[in-house]
């Protein structure tokens, strides 16, 4: 449903971090909290920094859509489950 919270992997353009932020972690947290409305506490599961730039967070579909429109956000994709071979 619309309100269901899921994990999303958020792709970011690190170089586009607004100058007002001290660190990428602050930027990610602020970006997520800005789309969360009443629920202000962002849940950043992972901050990816070496092989990939971005983070994983918990959002509902509307929040994900709003976050995707923010500057520096390249894409948002829901979590998928893999299996052992």
């Amino acid at each position: 449903s619309e309100g269901e919270t899921k994990t999303y992997i958020v792709h970011v353009a690190k170089s586009q971090m607004p100058a007002s932020f001290m660190s990428h972690e602050h930027w990610y947290t602020s970006a997520v909290e800005s789309v969360m409305g009443e629920e202000k506490e962002a849940s950043i599961l992972y901050d990816y920094a070496d092989a990939f730039h971005g983070f994983a967070t918990r959002l509902n579909a509307a929040q994900a859509e709003a976050l995707e429109k923010q500057e520096g956000i390249l894409g948002i994709y829901p979590e998928t489950v893999y299996e052992l071979h």
Partner: protein, 662 residues
């Protein structure tokens, strides 16, 4: 593993100077899996030198796991559960280790296969006995636990790859996969692109969805996609019927209940309807009537539930033994299991004969005779029926899988937490287990890649993959084309890619097809990814130079010519690719080309036909032009045929498989 080092010729590699001497001792293999059982002797650091200076990883503390569980062999162990817990709830630490500790066994098996230390007298209850060792026994292991009881979540996988790269792994081994997705949406493709940029070789399992076509996973060109094949080893268990006939099956059963005399034989599915019928033939839980099966050997068909679970169902119903029969999906491929009761797995043809006997005989009887371990099986290797197959639906211009390696009935280290069947009612605990899958073939290649990295530290991940692919072989130990277990017929590049890995030759390939990170980005441009999608992978703004005419221009060690047929067109279709070879052999070497191709459908021109390399590391470029006939193909239906291109200097044969698709 036992047997596969010898089967791969690795016993001889150690004596190869200078290539084989290093044995990968400065190389760290990161294994993303179910964790590790650190007490296994396969992770002993006996006679290991100091941990490589570049290593920054740690041993994370958690349930039943602390920093002292790491050593100079197991140099790192981490776990990634935030995505899993966010999705399914907090881990119940009384039921699941919230730590790098492996309760499943799969991760211990794969890690040991890649780089486990030698262990003498290894076996599974006497089966497959020998010295068990990883492919790179001097290399280091870093275990990244990303798979939990409820699955392997993409956010955790991406975090493990990210951390592995930061820790300094040189090789990443991933025996897991998901569905097909664009590279910018797939966590494994995304993360491993970044790993490749940092010089990390990535090996992934191709999947176990064979023999269906178009069943591959992990097909990004910066990944080595590994299919599975058999060793020259078998575990025969014969079924002797009351009519005196003997039939061959396989089994890893070991116990007191060896069936010496004939007992009644029953097929619960005998009265199934032809439209699928009763589930009794599948021996699902609760479907067997003890009155019908008690004291008898029960014939069960494969499907729906795990093979070993069927044995447990038969045992619970009082059955004396089980014959597990393949169906159409598995053909004649035999996968051995460590059943809880006397049991033998048989191919479909044998299964049909046994069922026919049961149905046509008033009092059918039989027995199972276990013959232990047999070596020198011919033909081998054989492509496993379950190994996923091409073509590569994401980018048909990149031929996948890349190669095959041993993945059937592989013995390697096991968890101390559960028995060899993985069933909760299996009380046995074993140090080694025998299991099958492309999960098992992948770490074979990861370990061999570690050997190559140790021998040639300057080689890029693409150069290592090229060396592995261009030296792979396509003839079995009877000198015939590699057979497909699914059909009993010859297999092809959509089944085995470049062929079966040959480590000895890969150490000294002569020439390699190298690929830079920027080449891969140009490849992304050629498949029309948007600037944003490219940014996600490349982590930077990139202006496409459009140096590739098509994705097939990527300097890949295999070649896939795709003839896009326009409806009603009768004119020939021309596909032209450029390739660049780098001399990693000696100075002053001259290579001549030969091309094998299907003369009826294609003509092929290579220019130039001779390449002379005056110096090591010199690069030479050639073009290959394919002219395909306009075949009357059905829209949406792929027609394929195969060939190969080989550059030879008389010592090295640098071979590329070619697929032609309309």
């Amino acid at each position: 593993t036992t047997r596969s080092p010898g089967f791969l010729g690795l016993d001889a590699v150690a004596s190869m100077r200078p290539e084989g001497a290093n044995m990968g001792h400065d190389v760290v293999v990161g294994v993303l899996d179910t964790g590790v059982w650190p007490e296994s002797e396969s992770f002993s650091d006996h006679e290991m030198g100091p941990v490589p200076a570049h290593w920054k990883g740690v041993c994370e503390v958690g349930t039943a796991f602390n920093s002292s569980h790491c050593n100079k062999k197991l140099v790192g162990a981490r776990f990634f559960a935030r995505g899993y817990e966010a999705a399914v709830g907090p881990i119940n630490e009384t039921a699941e280790f919230k730590s790098p500790r492996d309760q499943d066994g799969h991760g211990t098996h794969t890690a040991a296969t890649a780089a486990g230390a030698p262990v003498e007298n290894a076996s599974l209850l006497g089966y497959a006995e020998g010295i068990a060792r990883g492919m790179a026994p001097k290399a280091r292991i870093a275990a990244y636990k990303v798979c939990w009881v409820g699955g392997c979540f993409s956010s955790d996988i991406l975090a493990a790859i990210d951390k592995g790269v930061a820790d300094g792994v040189n090789v990443l081994s991933l025996s897991l996969g998901g569905g097909i997705a664009p590279y910018y949406r797939d966590a494994i493709s995304l993360g491993t692109f970044g790993a490749m940029e940092k010089g990390v070789f990535v090996s992934c399992s191709a999947g176990n969805s064979g023999p269906d076509a178009v069943s591959l996973s992990n097909v990004a060109p910066w990944i080595a996609t590994i299919g599975a094949s058999t060793l020259d080893r078998d575990f025969p268990a014969f079924i002797r019927l009351g009519n005196g006939m003997n039939y061959s099956g396989v089994s890893l059963y070991h116990g007191r209940q060896v069936l010496g005399t004939s007992v009644p034989l029953v097929y619960p599915g005998a009265n199934s309807s032809s439209t699928g019928g009763s589930p009794m033939n599948l021996c699902l839980a609760g479907t067997l009537d003890p009155k019908t099966v008690a004291g008898k050997i029960v014939v069960c068909d494969r499907g729906i539930t795990p093979r070993v679970a069927k044995g447990a169902v038969v045992k619970a119903a009082g059955g004396a033994g089980m014959v597990l029969t393949n169906t159409e999906a598995n053909g004649e491929e035999l996968v051995a299991d460590c059943h809880l009761i006397p049991a033998s797995a048989v191919g479909k043809k044998t299964g049909d004969v046994i069922k026919q006997y049961i149905q046509s005989t008033p009092n059918p009887t039989g027995t199972i005779l276990f013959k232990g371990t047999v070596l020198g099986v011919k033909p081998s290797p054989v492509v496993a029926a379950f190994s996923s197959r091409g073509p590569n639906i994401v980018n048909p211009e990149i031929l996948k899988p890349d190669m095959i390696a041993p993945g059937v009935n592989i013995l390697a280290a096991w968890t101390g937490f559960q028995g060899p069947t993985g069933l909760s009612n299996d009380p046995r605990r074993v140090k080694f287990n025998i299991i099958s899958g492309t999960s098992m073939s992948c770490p074979h290649v990861s370990g061999i890649a570690a050997l190559l990295k140790g021998a040639h530290p300057e080689w890029s991940p693409a150069a290592i993959k090229s060396a592995l692919m261009t030296t792979a072989y396509t003839l079995d130990n009877t000198k015939k084309k590699l057979m497909d277990a699914a059909t009993g017929n010859a297999s092809g590049p959509f089944d085995y890619g470049a062929g079966h890995v040959d480590p000895r030759k890969a150490l000294n390939p002569g020439l390699v097809y190298d690929i830079t990170a920027e080449d891969y980005i140009e490849f992304l441009c050629s498949i029309k990814y948007s600037p944003t999608e490219i940014y996600s992978l490349a982590k930077r703004n990139y202006t496409c130079r459009n140096t590739f005419r098509s994705p097939g221009d990527l300097n890949y060690p295999s070649i896939s010519a795709v003839f896009n047929v326009e409806s009603n067109s009768t004119s020939d279709i021309v596909v032209k690719y450029t390739r660049t070879l780098t001399n990693v052999g000696s100075a002053g070497s001259t290579y001549n080309v030969s091309v094998a191709y299907p003369l009826k459908e294609v003509s092929t021109v290579v220019e130039p036909r001779v390449l002379h390399f005056a110096q090591p590391n010199e690069k030479k470029t050639y073009t290959i032009t394919f002219t395909g006939k306009s075949l009357p193909v059905v829209p949406g239906l792929l027609v394929a045929t195969f060939g190969s291109l080989t550059w030879s200097d008389g010592v090295h044969d640098v071979r590329s498989p070619i697929s032609f698709s309309w």
